[in-house]
C-alpha cells in the first residue's frame, strides 16, 4: 500500500471525510495545513490536496508540493481551482450544473474518456456523477480520464509536467461526503481511496 498523507484544512467536512474509518485505514497521516511548511514529507508517496483549502496557505504550500512531485511523488488535487498552483494549470470556471438530473431525459454531460484505466475497476462513471464546477484543459501528453462532452477534463492524470504524477479532478467528494450530502460522493470515495492506496496509475 502506498503511504498517503492528506493536507487537512481543519474544516468540518474534511474532519469527517478523512477521519471516517473506511477511508482513514488507507491514510497514513493528516498534515494540518497551517503546519504543512514545517512538516516532513519523508516516506510519503501520495500527497492528497483536498478541495476548498485556504488560499493564502495553499499558495504558500505550492512550492513544497511541486518539489514533492519533482521528487517523483504522486499528488492528488480535488475541487475547483480558482488559484494558480497546479503545474500547467488551465482551469475554466463554469456555472455549476446542480440541477441537470431534474430535467427530462437527463444527461449529466460526463464522458468516460479512458474506460480501461485501472481506477474504473474501482469506481464507475455514475459514482463520479453529481455536478461539476468547471473543467481543466490539461497540458499535451496528460491523460484525460473523465471529460465533459466538449472535451474539458473533469479528471486527468499529468505525468509530463513534473517528474511525478498528478491526479487532478474538479470533483469535490471530500466536501460533499463530509457535509452529509450526495450519496454518489460516498461511492466515489469508497473506490477512489483504495485505488489511490493500491491501484495502477
Amino acid at each position: 500500500m502506498r503511504k498517503i498523507a492528506v493536507i487537512y484544512s481543519g474544516n468540518a467536512s474534511h474532519h469527517r471525510t478523512f477521519t471516517e474509518p473506511r477511508y482513514k485505514q488507507y491514510i497514513d497521516s493528516l498534515i494540518y495545513l497551517p503546519e504543512f511548511l514545517n512538516t516532513s514529507l519523508e516516506g510519503v508517496e501520495v500527497l492528497f490536496v483536498p478541495s476548498q483549502l485556504n488560499e493564502k496557505l495553499l499558495l504558500q504550500a505550492k512550492e513544497k508540493i511541486i518539489d514533492f512531485a519533482q521528487a517523483g511523488g504522486i499528488v492528488v488535487a480535488f475541487g475547483p481551482q480558482p488559484w494558480e498552483w497546479l503545474p500547467n494549470q488551465k482551469w475554466e470556471e463554469r456555472e455549476t450544473n446542480f440541477w441537470w438530473w431534474l430535467e427530462k431525459d437527463a444527461e449529466s454531460g460526463l464522458v468516460l474518456a479512458e474506460p480501461t484505466y485501472d481506477l474504473f475497476n474501482y469506481i464507475t462513471l455514475e459514482d463520479a456523477t453529481w455536478h461539476q464546477h468547471g473543467v481543466f484543459w490539461p497540458v499535451e501528453g496528460a491523460q484525460k480520464l473523465i471529460t465533459t462532452e466538449d472535451g474539458g477534463a473533469v479528471m486527468y492524470v499529468d505525468k509530463v509536467s513534473t517528474n511525478g504524477t498528478w491526479i487532478i479532478t474538479t470533483l469535490d467528494p471530500d466536501y460533499h461526503f463530509g457535509s452529509y450530502f450526495m450519496p454518489a460522493t460516498e461511492r466515489f470515495l469508497d473506490g477512489f481511496i483504495p485505488w489511490l492506496a493500491k491501484g495502477e496509475m
Binding site: 484544512s9 481543519g10 474544516n11 468540518a12 474532519h15 483549502l53 485556504n54 431534474l102 452529509y180 450530502f181
Partner: protein
C-alpha cells in the same frame, strides 16, 4: 480613519467563498478578513463575529479564549455549520441526522422570531423540490435556557440562541451560512437582512444590560 463595519466575518479563504470578497452585499455589511487574522486583530471595534461552515475549527479551538472573551464583553457570535471541536461556549458537538426519507429534512418553526419572519418552512426545506440543503445535522443537547428557533420534526434543534453560557449572545445554526441565502427568489431571501437587523437590535440590548432577560 474610515469607520470599520462592526460585523467581523471570518473568511475561510476557500474557493467557494471567493466571490464574497467582492460581492456588494458582503462588502457593504461586513468586515471580511482571512480567518487566520483572528489572533492578530484588535476586536474592540466589532460587535459580532460570524463564523462560517468552512472555518478551520482546529484553529478556533486553539484560540477559543478569544471567542469567549469577545462574548463576555457583551457581544455576539454567529456560527453556521457543524461544530466538531468545542470552541464555542455551550455548543455541543454536532450529531448527523439519520435520514430515512426526505421528511427527516423537514424544517419546523419552534418559535416565531424576527430572523425568520415571513420565511416559509417549505422554502427552507426545499430547493427546486429537493430537501436537505438547509440542515442535515443537529447540535443537541442545547445549552441550558437556550431559545430554539427551528427544529426537525422530532424536535431536534437546528437553530438556537444562547444568552446564558456567556455575557454575550451566541446564535448557532446547524447548516450553511445564513447570510448566503440570497437571490434565490424565495422567502428565504429575507433571512440575510433580517439577521443583520437582529444583530443590531441584539447588540443594543446587550449594551443596555438586557442579556438573560
Amino acid at each position: 480613519m474610515a469607520q470599520v463595519n462592526p460585523i467581523l466575518y471570518l473568511d475561510p479563504g476557500h474557493a467557494f467563498g471567493l466571490s464574497n470578497r467582492t460581492n456588494p452585499f458582503m462588502t457593504a455589511n461586513f468586515t471580511l478578513v482571512d480567518q487566520y487574522s483572528l489572533t492578530e486583530m484588535d476586536l474592540s471595534s466589532f460587535n459580532c463575529i460570524v463564523v462560517h461552515d468552512f472555518a478551520d475549527q482546529e484553529y478556533l479551538y486553539k484560540n477559543k479564549s478569544i471567542i469567549e472573551d469577545f462574548l463576555n464583553e457583551g457581544k455576539i457570535v454567529i456560527f453556521c455549520g457543524h461544530l466538531f471541536k468545542e470552541w464555542l461556549p455551550g455548543c455541543p458537538i454536532f450529531t448527523p441526522r439519520n435520514i430515512q426519507s426526505h421528511k427527516d429534512y423537514e424544517i419546523f418553526v419552534e418559535k416565531q422570531h424576527p430572523i425568520f419572519d415571513g420565511v416559509s418552512t417549505d422554502d427552507m426545506t426545499y430547493n427546486k423540490g429537493v430537501a436537505g440543503f438547509f440542515s442535515r445535522v443537529t447540535h443537541a443537547p442545547i445549552p441550558a435556557n437556550a431559545e430554539v428557533l427551528l427544529t426537525f420534526h422530532d424536535q431536534m434543534p437546528i437553530t438556537y440562541i444562547d444568552r446564558y453560557s456567556t455575557k454575550g449572545t451566541i446564535l448557532v445554526h446547524a447548516g450553511r451560512d445564513l447570510f448566503a441565502l440570497r437571490m434565490q427568489n424565495k422567502s428565504t431571501d429575507r433571512i440575510s437582512n433580517q439577521l443583520l437587523q437582529w444583530i443590531e437590535d441584539e447588540f443594543k440590548e446587550l449594551q443596555q444590560g438586557g442579556n438573560q432577560s
